[in-house]
Each structure stands twice: as structure tokens, then as C-alpha cells.
Symmetry: C2
Subunit: 424 residues, 2 copies
């Protein structure tokens, strides 16, 4: 019996080990599949990994090759540090960090050297107190300034580096003798690191934040157009209780795009002219368009909720289906036209035409509404009981469409205004 | 005449200088006022600036005091670097960065030492190639892994530090002889810096990300409740064309809170138990509640749009005013009750009662609707011409309120579920 007990225990342990290994394997497989999917969706992300590695390897050459090492010495560390910290996915991100770092290092270093000179004139006893005091003042002021929205958006990273440089130079200089010499050496290596960064980032498969932003806004506008059409179709032509189609839910991408749009617009600001984007390309307009699209998407959300809970086919619903479908078609067409004109950065002459069509369709829907109201009154006499419960039902579609239409036309207005500036 | 010309020029230059100085002064005053306002709104932000400065000054003591400097030597730089980079506004942010840094430094350093040992066994010629090759592989893999959502949310900073440490140790070790000794010294100073950070961050006026998140969610829920009430009031009881009141627009705060909620929930995960928050406090639930609130806010947005464009007082509008106002009151009460029970982290027994009231009010509104429909038919006979244009008008309020009500009840359901877990 004890032998059997031990064998059973061993078997249990073995099974446990096997299940553990299987779980680990499943996890690894899931991880690998996710990694593969990300790379397959956007090969530029894979390229980004290799670019980062390339930049670092280039830096490491400074250690291995004797004449280069003789020039940089142990300071080559700063080049590596710069590459790791500055290298970003988009060119704009890389430039933002690089320029911030350069400016902050220079101002922080210069300020620290100045304060140190003053401190050294005032005698050895007071020096630590003056240095610490100035450090306290500058560090708290700089940290506090990060809470201001404009500073946060443009110079957040710079402030960190400013504090870092100031502290290292002002405090570290207390012990080192040739601060200026050391600072000059470090600046050289940082410049080398930053140059490698920019070169690799901008020359090998560059990813421009401006281009990303542009594509994203145009794509989201198309999704919104599809969602408007899809929701109305789902509402009128699918059976009750059917789930919303994939494309009706595309508007959700618009709702969640705010954070990424804002950060891309912030980074794009730092990019030099590239392709169709000139130096002072009006990136904030994209944010405006994005906000207008979100306003519109809120209404689409309300419409989608109505579509998801839409009742069975009723007399009144059929009556309005034609006009609503036409309006949604025209609205989607206008959105697509606007998205096309954003994508090609031209002012489309057809846009005004399409918007006119949409307004005409809306007019028609309003007429249908008035007509329906009159109809219901007549109708009610002969089919009173089955339609009585139905009566409060029909209005939702049209009423839901109306604010949607308002938002869409608002969006189109803003788009039209935006193009005036975007168009060359 | 030339004298007058020169005098005129000088006067123009003087005026120009004056206007420049005035502009600079205005800018500085504006900047100062903004700085003052931020500090007055939230004194903890001001305290944060001083805390950062204090932590840095404590670090600088290592340079000034001889026995301490003898212990750390030039490596005190790493303590400063750690403080600057790790110190964050919330305790969670500080711990997130600190723990990430510690883990990444240890794993990166250990891995690098291992690879270096292998490389040193394979002869002096191959060493640079093995080291560079491993650097290339690890750096690209690590950079690529940052694109995965879970890695991005939890270990983004750690990956950066991992690459940095690996590079410095693997490559820098090629030239230095006592890598292990150096690594140990650096780790000690980094640990000193991190300890100073945590101590200052968590002991002096700590700002907990969990508490922030908790307050923000409860506050936004109150704002949402006020907005629901405000919009309905604006719709029914203000004159046509009047601007929406301040409190009706409170829902916008809810719409824009997604990014901050997500980051706070991410940081709160790292915080130890504090106050009413235990170690595994269900922070993701706050995100769920936030999302439900946003769903609700979309509907409020549609309602607000309707309120902003509401027509003149009409017969039908007055008819429904009472029921709508009652529903909005009950809905707001339910939201407030839910916010209260989130704020106190208890399951409120009254919540079910209030939700019941709300549902009753919604039932009543539906009855009123049916009643109105019948009424309109009778009504239409005697006041035909003035009410004809009015007919498609009245539905908006109630129809708008219905999805709002749906969303609100959805929200309440989720709240009720959330409390089951949140409540002790």
C-alpha cells in the first residue's frame, strides 16, 4: 500500500507538472501569436525594434574601436543613454525628445555654471548652502511648472532633463575640478548619440507623426460614415433583436481616438517638412476635426442604442424607412467626400454639392414627418387597437436622426472651414 | 527737419520698446496668474514641487558631507539620476517607476553579466561581435515588446531601463575591469536614491493615485447627475435660445476623463494598502464605472443639444414638463445615491429604492406619452393651424429622455454590481 501511495503521489506530481508546462506553453503560444499579429498588422513596428537595436549597436562601436574610444573615453556611456532615452517610434517623438534634451542640457548646464561661479566667490563654507539653496528653488519651480498645460504638452521632458543637468553640474561640480572640460566632453557625446538617433529614425523607414495623424483622421471619418449608414440600415431593415453589424460599431474607434490624436498632434509639431506636409502644417486643425467627429459620434451612439433596441416592423417605421435611408446615404456621402478632401488635402468642389444634397434629404425627411403625423391621426381611426401601443414607437428613428443630422452638418461646416486652411 | 526726423524716430523706437515691455509684462502676469491659480486650486501640486526639491537636496548631501561621499564616491550621481527620473506626483507613479527600475536593472544587469562571461570565454577577437549581436537581439526584442498593450501599461518604463542597463553593462564592461564591483556600487546608490524618493513621496503629504481615482469617479458621477437635471430644466423651463447653464455642461468632464482614469487605475495597481484601500482593491472596476458613465454622458450630450435648440413653449411641451422633470430628478437622485455609495465604499440599501422610484417615474412618463398622443389627436381638431407646425416638435424631449433613461439604468446596474465588489 505505501508503495502504491508513493506511486500515486508521484503520478499526481507528474500530472501537476504536465499541466503547469501545458499552461506555460499556452501562455507562450498566446504571447507569440499576439507578437506575430502586431507585427503582421503593422510591419513598421517590427522595423522600429530593429532600428532601435541598430542605433544602440552603432553606439557600442564607440567602445570597441580603439581610436573612437580614445576620443570619447568613458563618456561614451552618455551616447548610449541618449539613444535609449531619446529614440521613439515617430520622427516627431524623437525630435521632441532630442531638442528638449539639447535645450534643457544647455540651459541647465549654463545656469548651474553661473551659480557655481557665484558660489565659489563667496567662500568655501557658504558654497554648499548656496548650491543647495539654488537647487531647491530651481527644482521646485521647474517641477511646479510641469503642471501648466502648455509646458506639459511641449516641454515636459525638457523640464526633467533641466533639473537633472542642473543638479549634476551644480552639485557634482562641487567635487570635480574641471567641470567645464567635463561638460564639453559630455555634450559632444550626447550630440553624437542624438545624431545617430535622428539619422536612424528619419532615414530608415521613417514613421512621421503628421502622416499618422492625417491617415487616422481620414480613416476615422470613413468609419463614421459607414457607421451612420449601418445604424440606419440595422434600424429599419433587420429583424428585431438582431445584433448590430460590425460596421455600425465603427464609431467607437472615433470615440476613443482623442488621446492618440492629441499626442500625435503634439509630436507632429516638431517635425520638419516632409512629403506633402510643410513646416507649419496646421496640425491643430486635425484636433478640431477630431473633436467635431467625436460630437457626431456621440449622436451616432444614441442612434446605435436605438437601433439595438428597435422594435418589430411597424406601419409607421416602413413609412419613414425610405426617407431615413436616403438621408443616411447622403450624410455618409458627405462625410466620405470630406474625408477624401482631407486625405488629398484639397478643397473639393463637390463637397458643397453633397452637403446640399444632404440638406435636401433632411428637408424631405422633415416633410415626411409632418406627413406621418397627419397620417397617424387618420390611420388611428381604422386600426386603433394594434397601433395604439405602436404610437409612441415610430418617432425614435427620425428624432434620433435629426440631432445626428445637426451634428453631421456641424461637422461638415468645420470640415469646410478646415479645408480652407489645409488646402494649398 | 533732420533733427525732428531723428526725434520722431527715437520716439517711435521708444514707443515700440514700451509696447514690447508691456507685452512681456502682460505675458509674465498671465503666466504668474496661471501659476497662482493652479496652486490655489490644488495646493498639493505646490507641495509636490517642494517635495521634489527636498528629495534632490537630500541627495546632494551625499556630495557635501565627507564621510558619505567617501562611501558613495562619484556614484552619487546615480542617486541624483534616480530621484529625478523616478519621482512622480502620485505614490503609485513613484512606486511604478521605482519597482520597474529596480527589476529592470537587476534582470538587465544579470543577463549582461552572463552574456559577458560567455563572451569572455570565446576569445578576445569574437567578444565584440558576440556582445554586439546579443545587444542587437535583446534590444530589438525588448523594444518590440513595448507595443504589446499589457507590457505598455505595466512595464513600459522597465523595458527602457532594461535596455539601458544591458547596454551599459554588456558594452561598458568591455572596457572596465571590475564590472561586478562597479555594478554593486551603482546598485547601492540607486537604492539610496529610490529610498529617499519613496520616503519623501509617501510620508510628506502623500498623493495616492487610488484616492485620486476614487474621488474623481465620485465627483464625475455627481456632475453627471447635475447635468441630467440641468439639461431637462433648461429644456422645459428656460426661454428659447437661452444658453445652457454651467451645470448642464458638467457632463463634458465625464467625456474627457477616460485618459486620466486609465492612467490612474494603472498606477493605483502598484500602491500598497493605505487608508480604506486594501492591497488588491478592485481598481479596474472604477474604469468600468467610468466607461458606463461615459455611455450615459453621450446620451446627455444628445439631450443637451436638444435643449440648446429647444423651441418656444408649446402646449405639448408643458404637458410633459412635469413627468420629465420628475424623471430627471429621480435619475439624478439615483446617480447621487450611487456616487455616495461609491464614495463611502458601502452598498447602500437605499439605492435599490431610488432606482425603483426612477423606474416608476419612467413608467409614468411613458403613460404621459401615450396620453399625449391621444390628446394631440383630440386637440388637433379645435386648434388645428397653430399646432400643426408644433406637432413634430414635442416628441424630442421625451424621446431624448428615453435612451438617457436606458443608459442611466444601465449605469445603475453596473454600479450596483460594482458595489458588490467594492463594498467591504
Amino acid at each position: 500500500a505505501p508503495v502504491r501511495g508513493v506511486a500515486g503521489l508521484a503520478a499526481a506530481a507528474w500530472r501537476w507538472l504536465l499541466s503547469l508546462a501545458a499552461a506555460a506553453r499556452d501562455r507562450a503560444v498566446g504571447f507569440g501569436r499576439m507578437a506575430w499579429k502586431i507585427g503582421a498588422d503593422d510591419p513598421r513596428k517590427l522595423a522600429h525594434g530593429f532600428k532601435m537595436a541598430l542605433a544602440l549597436t552603432l553606439c557600442s562601436v564607440f567602445y570597441y574601436v580603439q581610436p573612437l574610444y580614445a576620443f570619447t573615453g568613458h563618456n561614451a556611456m552618455w551616447a548610449v543613454l541618449t539613444v535609449v532615452v531619446v529614440f521613439e517610434y515617430t520622427v516627431g517623438g524623437c525630435l521632441y525628445k532630442g531638442l528638449n534634451r539639447a535645450m534643457a542640457t544647455l540651459t541647465g548646464g549654463a545656469l548651474a555654471l553661473g551659480v557655481q561661479w557665484v558660489a565659489s566667490k563667496s567662500g568655501k563654507e557658504f558654497e554648499p548652502f548656496i548650491l543647495s539653496g539654488s537647487l531647491f528653488v530651481f527644482a521646485s519651480a521647474a517641477t511646479y511648472s510641469r503642471f501648466m498645460p502648455t509646458m506639459k504638452a511641449r516641454f515636459d521632458y525638457g523640464v526633467t532633463i533641466f533639473i537633472l543637468t542642473y543638479t549634476l553640474v551644480a552639485v557634482g561640480g562641487y567635487r570635480a575640478d574641471e567641470v567645464a572640460f567635463m561638460a564639453q566632453h559630455r555634450l559632444t557625446t550626447i550630440a553624437i548619440g542624438a545624431t545617430i538617433c535622428f539619422a536612424v529614425c528619419a532615414l530608415i523607414f521613417p514613421v512621421w507623426a503628421g502622416q499618422q495623424l492625417h491617415d487616422q483622421v481620414a480613416r476615422n471619418m470613413d468609419k463614421l460614415a459607414a457607421a451612420v449608414e449601418g445604424c440606419v440600415e440595422d434600424f429599419f431593415f433587420s429583424e428585431a433583436g438582431a445584433v448590430l453589424s460590425e460596421r455600425s460599431l465603427g464609431y467607437r474607434a472615433v470615440l476613443n481616438a482623442k488621446a492618440s490624436e492629441d499626442s500625435l498632434a503634439n509630436l507632429a509639431r516638431w517635425e520638419p517638412a516632409h512629403g506633402a506636409f510643410r513646416f507649419r502644417h496646421p496640425y491643430p486643425l486635425y484636433q478640431k476635426i477630431g473633436n467635431a467627429m467625436r460630437c457626431c459620434a456621440y449622436c451616432v451612439d444614441a442612434l446605435a442604442a436605438a437601433a439595438a433596441g428597435s422594435g418589430p416592423q411597424s406601419h409607421a417605421k416602413k413609412h419613414l424607412a425610405g426617407a431615413c435611408a436616403a438621408l443616411s446615404k447622403h450624410c455618409a456621402a458627405a462625410l466620405r467626400e470630406a474625408s477624401g478632401s482631407v486625405a488629398t488635402m484639397t478643397r473639393s468642389g463637390r463637397l458643397a454639392l453633397v452637403v446640399g444634397d444632404m440638406n435636401a434629404a433632411a428637408e424631405e425627411l422633415r416633410d415626411e414627418l409632418t406627413c406621418l403625423a397627419a397620417l397617424l391621426e387618420d390611420d388611428d381611426v381604422d386600426v386603433d387597437s394594434p397601433d395604439a401601443a405602436d404610437l409612441p414607437e415610430p418617432p425614435p428613428p427620425l428624432i434620433e436622426v435629426l440631432p445626428l443630422f445637426t451634428a453631421a452638418s456641424l461637422l461638415l461646416e468645420i470640415c469646410a472651414r478646415a479645408e480652407g486652411v489645409v488646402a494649398a
